[in-house]
């Protein structure tokens, strides 16, 4: 087992390196110039622009810049934002809490909803509940998240005025601040919950159905166990194995999904930072954020694989 984990980690490191190289190459080969905004400014002559370029290290060929980037990132230095002149890592740390709050809460609620709905849908297959659940989950993964967001804004913010449209960084201390925080998180979290619950419910349901038709379930029933025990103890624990891995695999995608939600509700998180940085040609920030998304994907793929191995004794590590 230890050997297996070690081998997977060793594969993950070159994967991350190759991905970072691909992203860096895309950014370096793109035609845009991060100093384009200075080119139109008469106060900055050509020689100064060249000096700025050299001070940012942009005068070197990009493979050299890539090697330098890797070595400085490995030392914990992610570079400096062209736009705000602040260290990239500081920007990321500033924005991370908002994203984590919204995304984390949404994912937690989605999991807590999806598991019981999936169980009931599978146990009472083709019942009224199951059919309603099926239709709702199809709706959930067919609706683009910006459309769910707009409908919710129209309904709850414009017409009913229950929740604010725009997310503000509020003073979260005290009960009033806490209430305000909950109120403004409600809509963005709901959008993400709708999207995530749909996929997880379908997966939970089909995983339960796969197990319900197996022989060990019949054996358990033949022993005279209560229906509740069979479903919740025997079937559920086995059905959760693939679901747990899917939950791990889904974490990077929900971060990516937050890009739309954050832009719609003006949540000042990582997704909003990515969009503004792309539009401002702020290469170091874009590079860092895309790379963080990539690392998240690789790490959670790894975690999913390892968890599958730990939970399912049939998986052999040879």
């Amino acid at each position: 087992m230890t050997q297996y984990i070690l081998r997977r980690v060793l594969i993950a490191i070159p994967t991350i390196l190759v991905i970072s190289f691909v992203i860096f190459a895309i950014l370096a080969l793109a035609p845009g110039d991060p100093l384009a905004q200075f080119a139109l400014n008469p106060a900055i002559p050509e020689s100064t622009r060249e000096r700025i370029r050299a001070s940012l290290g942009l005068d070197q060929p990009w493979p050299v810049r890539y090697v330098k980037w890797v070595s400085s990132v490995s030392r914990g230095d992610w570079g400096i934002s062209f736009n705000t002149k602040a260290p990239v890592l500081d920007l990321v740390w500033q924005r991370l809490p908002q994203t984590l709050q919204v995304v984390g809460l949404a994912y937690l609620i989605a999991i807590l909803l999806a598991i019981p709905i999936g169980i009931i849908s599978a146990v009472k297959q083709y019942s009224f509940f199951d059919q309603i659940g099926t239709i709702f989950s199809f709706i959930g993964f067919s609706v683009p998240s910006f459309f769910t967001g707009l409908v919710l804004i129209l309904l709850f913010a414009v017409n009913l005025k229950w929740f604010p449209i725009v997310y503000k960084t509020v003073d979260g201390s005290g009960w009033a601040g806490f209430g305000e925080q909950i109120r403004q998180m409600f809509l963005p979290v709901t959008v993400l919950v709708v999207q995530q619950t749909a996929a997880l419910t379908r997966f939970m349901r089909s995983s339960m159905l796969d197990n319900l038709s197996l022989d060990y379930v019949r054996t358990a029933r033949a022993k005279g166990l209560k229906d509740q025990t069979v479903v919740l103890r025997h079937v559920l624990s086995n059905s959760l194995i693939p679901v747990v891995t899917l939950v791990a695999l889904g974490i990077p995608t929900i971060f990516a999904g937050a890009i739309v939600t954050e832009n719609l509700f003006r949540v000042n998180g990582l997704g909003a930072l990515l969009i503004t940085s792309i539009q401002n040609s702020d290469t170091p920030v874009v590079m860092a954020l895309t790379f963080i998304f990539a690392i998240l994907t690789v790490i959670f793929n790894l975690i999913a694989d390892i968890m599958y191995g730990l939970l399912d004794p049939r998986v052999r590590f040879s």
Binding site: F138, I139, V143, P144, F146, L150, L274, I278, A294
Partner: protein, 344 residues
């Protein structure tokens, strides 16, 4: 005894023969085919059938349906709006026609779905946007399916080092953060592609389709590879090799049809995903240029008037949603219908 028997037997025998003939001719006329079986199973999936009807309707509406609507709109505008200066304007002209007498009006008899802040007709714009969105979905899906099928087939058929290398690449693509990368590539490379293609619309179309399709082929590759791995040692492949059939023909004529079911399902769902991705790009302002009204773009523009003219954002949004929902139901129906293990 024997005579009596014969006398009794003859009519009965004749009767039996005709019955048998009827039975055999009945069977001969209506052989059950693979496609026929699939269709019979598919028809039972009511939601999938509803999906097909909606998709056919949308496709007809954006292609043929725009013609009668164009002449209707021109006639209506001539009597109660700003008349169109051109004689026979096509849809591209009509979507930019400004009707200053009807700004931000709700759906009425002149503008069946209302107008935006510049008096542009929402239905005309939605029809045009539908063409773009559906085409993006279809072409992006074709790119990803062709890529996935070829990569999966080569990896599964040849095995060994080729398989190892191709599957490493597939794993690598699966670990790429798709949404940020699509955003980035489209934003950074759209200007040179637009220059190369000559028109902004064609340029953005090419880059969106290539990037979206180029990041969605991995699932298909895995399905195709698995089929090839399990089938390439089977007797029918050996027989084909003995008959002198070439490698390419064996791969694509003999083995590939066995994977057609899962490929078709993946293709269907791929169209829906591509449409959502494109509309998300447009919504974030990274997709098509502002004067091309794709469905996603219409939602973005309309979202500024959510309180005064909610239909501007809701109609195109609902069109995206209905299309993708229908596609997903269709995919679900096809999955059940094309699975040879499922019974009638």
């Amino acid at each position: 005894m024997s005579e009596a028997n014969q006398a009794m037997d003859t009519p009965a025998k004749a009767n039996l023969t005709t019955q048998a003939q009827q039975l055999t001719t009945g069977v001969a006329v209506k052989p059950r085919t693979l496609v026929g079986d699939a269709w019979r199973r598919f028809r039972k999936h009511r939601l999938a059938m509803a999906g097909v009807i909606i998709l056919v309707f949308f496709t007809l509406a954006v292609s043929l349906g725009s013609v009668p609507y164009q002449s209707y709109l021109v006639g209506q505008l001539a009597t109660s709006g700003m008349p169109v200066p051109q004689e026979n304007p096509d849809l591209r002209v009509l979507i930019d026609h400004l009707d200053f007498l009807n700004l931000l009006v709700a759906p009425n008899s002149v503008h069946l779905l209302g107008t935006d802040d510049l008096g542009r007709d929402l239905l005309a714009r939605s029809l045009y946007g539908g063409r773009v969105s559906l085409l993006v979905g279809l072409v992006a899906m074709l790119i990803s399916i062709v890529l996935g099928t070829v990569i999966g087939a080569v990896a599964g058929f040849f095995g060994g080092t080729i398989d190892q290398v191709l599957m490493r690449i597939t794993d690598l693509f699966l670990s790429l953060p798709a949404v940020p990368l699509i955003l980035l590539t489209v934003y950074l490379f759209r200007d040179p592609v637009i220059k190369a293609m000559g028109s902004p619309e064609a340029g953005i179309f090419i880059i969106v389709v290539v990037v979206v399709g180029g990041l969605a082929w991995m699932q298909t590759a895995r399905i195709v590879r698995a089929t090839f791995l399990s089938l390439k040692e089977k007797e029918f492949v050996e027989a084909a090799t003995c008959l002198g059939v070439g490698k390419v023909a064996i791969m694509f004529k003999h083995i590939l049809p066995n994977a057609l079911g899962p490929i078709i399902v993946a293709a269907t769902l791929g169209v829906g995903n591509a449409i959502i991705t494109e509309s998300t790009l447009s919504f974030l302002g990274v997709g098509f240029p502002p004067d091309t009204p794709t469905w996603g773009r219409l939602v973005t523009d309309g979202s500024q008037y959510l309180s005064v003219a909610p239909w501007l954002a809701l109609v195109p949004g609902a069109l995206i949603f209905l299309t993708v929902l229908s596609i997903n139901f269709l995919g679900d129906g096809l999955r059940d219908a094309l699975d040879p293990r499922s019974r009638l």
